[in-house]
């Protein structure tokens, strides 16, 4: 019947039109640029972080450009951003586009663990080097994938290096409670923490996941209080993090120490939302502006001035990653995928996140050994309290009760 023909015509027209249009877009591959694909969540629920990372990439790029480091072997480095919308099949589409159509020399980006997993798998398949910015699920660098590199991000289970050092020397808790958001990051990091507790014979009295984005934590906190732990270890993003500490204050629930596992607990928004309840909350962190690595403070001030917002470690990760990219491309003997892979493998560069080298250790491949810190909020300021040689303030432990503040 004619219906078929019409339907068919429309379908084919649309398909071809779309494919031709997208096909033309990327075919301007000239010999004067080295393309670097950057996949970040620029829309959707993670857009806040994606935006910060994109800004930081741009900032680093401009600085490098001013220093003449964005031209390698007579070619200009060109950053091509793709939005993954925080969805992993879109991340896959973005990877396919960058690799096959734009023919990028290497990939970077990767915010959520799910998206990073998918990008890493596709990049490894296509033998295109992929330098991860944030995605921190342990598994990603445990696959033996030689084209996947993770420099500025620690595996989620290793966020706690400095923290355990401090536990041994200062806190020595007898009982701990673990709460975490039910995501890849939350599960990975609490798993690492749990194993470490068992190894050290610390009694875990409470261990519960909660739904990411929940609003009422009081039932969980009430149960938690009845177990009376010395310390609480929490993994949450920013809204949940502020809700939890605020509701603890409302319940007048005191512990000797509340430790967040990076993410929400170190963001400026945490203080803005939680207000005074944020005081004395400690957190593990991969980076803080007043850390002693050269350039860290400058980056923080410059970003704040330029974009009117304070960046956190996510921005620093992107900023440092751009420097690693420029360094590797500058050293690569030839700008092929294999050449860049080799240059990345040999990287040894000082960044605002500390020195970065891609090593194979503990089952990880091409994984930088992370520098970690313990920070503590003090009247809206985030102070480094551990390791002691880089601290910006002394720790407060045990923290004062709510009623005594």
């Amino acid at each position: 019947m004619k219906k078929y023909r019409k339907v068919l015509t429309v379908l084919l027209l649309v398909t071809f039109l779309a494919l031709v249009t997208t096909g033309c877009g990327g075919d301007g591959s000239s010999d004067t640029t080295v393309k670097v694909g950057v996949i970040l969540p620029l829309t959707g629920s993670e857009a806040m972080f994606g935006e910060m990372e994109k800004n930081s990439f741009e900032m680093a790029y401009e600085e490098l450009k001013a220093a003449g480091k964005t031209t390698v072997g007579g070619k200009e480095i060109k950053l091509m951003y793709e939005d993954d919308q925080g969805k992993q099949d879109v991340a896959r589409s973005a990877t396919e586009k960058l690799v096959n159509q734009d023919k990028v020399a290497m990939l970077s980006g990767g915010y959520s663990s799910a998206c990073t997993n998918v990008i890493a798998g596709s990049a490894q398949n296509a033998n295109v080097p992929f330098l991860i910015v944030t995605g921190s699920s342990d598994d990603i660098t445990k696959q033996g994938w030689n084209y996947v590199f993770r420099g500025t991000a620690a595996p989620a289970s290793k966020y706690t290096g400095a923290f355990w050092d401090m536990m041994e020397k200062v806190v020595d808790p007898q009982s701990v409670a673990i709460i975490f958001e039910n995501t890849d990051f939350g599960t990975s990091s609490s798993k690492g923490f749990r194993t470490e507790c068992q190894k050290r014979g610390i009694n875990i009295v409470f261990d519960q996941a909660y739904e990411h984005g929940a609003i009422d934590f009081k039932p969980m906190l009430a149960n938690l209080r009845s177990t009376n732990p010395d310390m609480i270890f929490a993994t949450s993003y920013v809204m949940d993090a502020s809700m939890i500490v605020k509701q603890m204050k409302e319940l007048d629930f005191n512990t000797k120490l509340f430790v967040g596992n990076g993410a929400g607990y170190t963001m400026p928004e945490f203080y803005q939302n939680a207000g005074a309840a944020s005081d004395f909350v400690a957190s593990t962190s991969l980076w803080v502006p007043n850390v002693t690595w050269p350039g860290a403070k400058d980056y923080f001030e410059k970003y704040k001035q330029k974009f009117g917002k304070e960046p956190d470690y996510h921005g620093a990760q992107a900023y440092a990653t751009m420097y690693v990219i420029a360094d590797a491309l500058g050293r690569a003997t030839d700008l092929t995928n294999a050449g860049i892979q080799k240059a990345l493998k040999q990287a040894d560069i000082q960044t605002i996140m500390g020195p970065i080298k891609f090593e194979d250790w503990d089952g990880f491949t091409n994984q930088n050994k992370p520098n970690t810190y313990v920070v503590q909020w003090s009247k809206g300021k985030l102070e480094v309290i551990w390791p002691e040689d880089v601290k910006s303030a002394s720790y407060v432990y045990p923290v004062p009760k709510w009623s005594e503040r």
Partner: protein, 318 residues
């Protein structure tokens, strides 16, 4: 039934689909086509239950996710190729469809929709929390053994073809007429002696089967799943509804057209419009649904009828 002309068009259509990846020999475009095939399959499967039988499901992510996890768990726990999931996945989806049907078919209209929505979410939470068995939120990551897009394309095409054929045969058999009668007036259908619950199940089971098949295929192709992805309410359950509404509810080709439009437009906007892409896409989808309420395929039928100035036949144009 298929008449000669009809058959001819289908063959031409099939031939074009067969040579398409050879003409467009670029992995990125082939990737988009594979996504279209996956969504066309899910759409066609959803259409059988919700389009023809009128039982609007907001929980198809449950079937999709169970299919995907069947393939993933085979690899995770039993070190089998995830391709076996293409057999196990649909069967598992059908098995879970039985209790879902038993619960949800007691309800009608919006209550049925709400029940399926809740059931879909229950599956997400169960898979998220059964960490020993499903790896929880960490998801399942596999390294695919086949990397050639062509193979996935043809496998996906085969999957869609089977789905279309089975749906077509069901809809054009006695069952199909019973289903439409249930959609139009369930009480009247019951009064005529149609065992409505049985026939609703006869729509649900193949619908779950093919959605599960698409899920297992998705696991093989994308190579990473976690519960928040494959049991997602908005990105799976609601998206399939949009895909079918865009293409045409209760039409043979509607879901396929809808999937092609939805995926290709979404990708075009994403690559060209920067951060505004989701907004523009959303507005456009709203406009299409407002002005072409029967979807592209549905409205074409009306346009054709007006052009021919003939007496209108049965609505819904199967």
């Amino acid at each position: 039934m298929l008449n000669k002309k009809n058959m001819l068009m289908t063959i031409v259509f099939a031939l074009i689909a067969l040579v398409l990846p050879l003409v467009i020999n670029a992995p990125y475009q082939q990737h988009i086509l594979i996504l279209v095939l996956i969504w066309a399959t899910i759409g066609t499967a959803w259409n059988l239950l919700s389009g023809y039988a009128g039982q609007v499901s907001f929980g198809h992510a449950a079937f999709f996710g169970v299919g995907a996890y069947s393939a993933g768990i085979l690899t995770l726990h039993y070190s089998l190729s995830p391709w076996w999931g293409l057999i196990l996945g649909p069967v598992m989806s059908m098995l879970i469809a039985l209790p879902i049907g038993a619960i949800a078919f007691r309800l009608r209209g919006p209550y049925f929709a709400l029940a399926t929505l809740a059931l879909g979410e229950i599956f997400r939470l169960v898979f998220l929390n059964m960490t020993e068995f499903t790896n929880g939120a960490k998801g399942i990551l596999i390294m695919p053994s086949i990397t050639s897009k062509i193979i996935y394309y043809y496998a996906g095409l085969g999957m869609l073809a089977v789905t279309l054929l089975v749906t077509y045969l069901i809809v054009h058999s006695k069952i199909g007429y019973y289903l439409v009668s249930i959609r139009e007036d369930q009480d009247a259908a019951t009064s005529l002696g149609i065992p409505t619950t049985l026939y609703k199940n006869l729509a649900l089971l193949p619908s779950a089967f093919f959605t599960g098949l698409a899920g297992a295929f998705y696991m093989n192709y994308v190579a990473f799943i976690d519960p928040n992805i494959v049991f997602n309410l908005t990105n799976i359950s609601i998206m399939v509804i949009l895909v079918v509404m865009l293409g045409g509810v209760a039409t043979t080709w509607g879901p396929t057209i809808g999937a092609a439009l939805y995926i290709i437009m979404g990708e075009l906007f994403r690559t060209t419009l920067g951060s505004a892409n989701v907004l523009v896409f959303g507005v456009l989808v709203c406009l299409i649904i407002m002005f072409l309420p029967n979807g592209i395929a549905g409205e074409l039928d009306i346009i054709k009828r007006i052009a021919q100035r003939k007496k209108a036949g049965l609505s819904g144009g199967v």
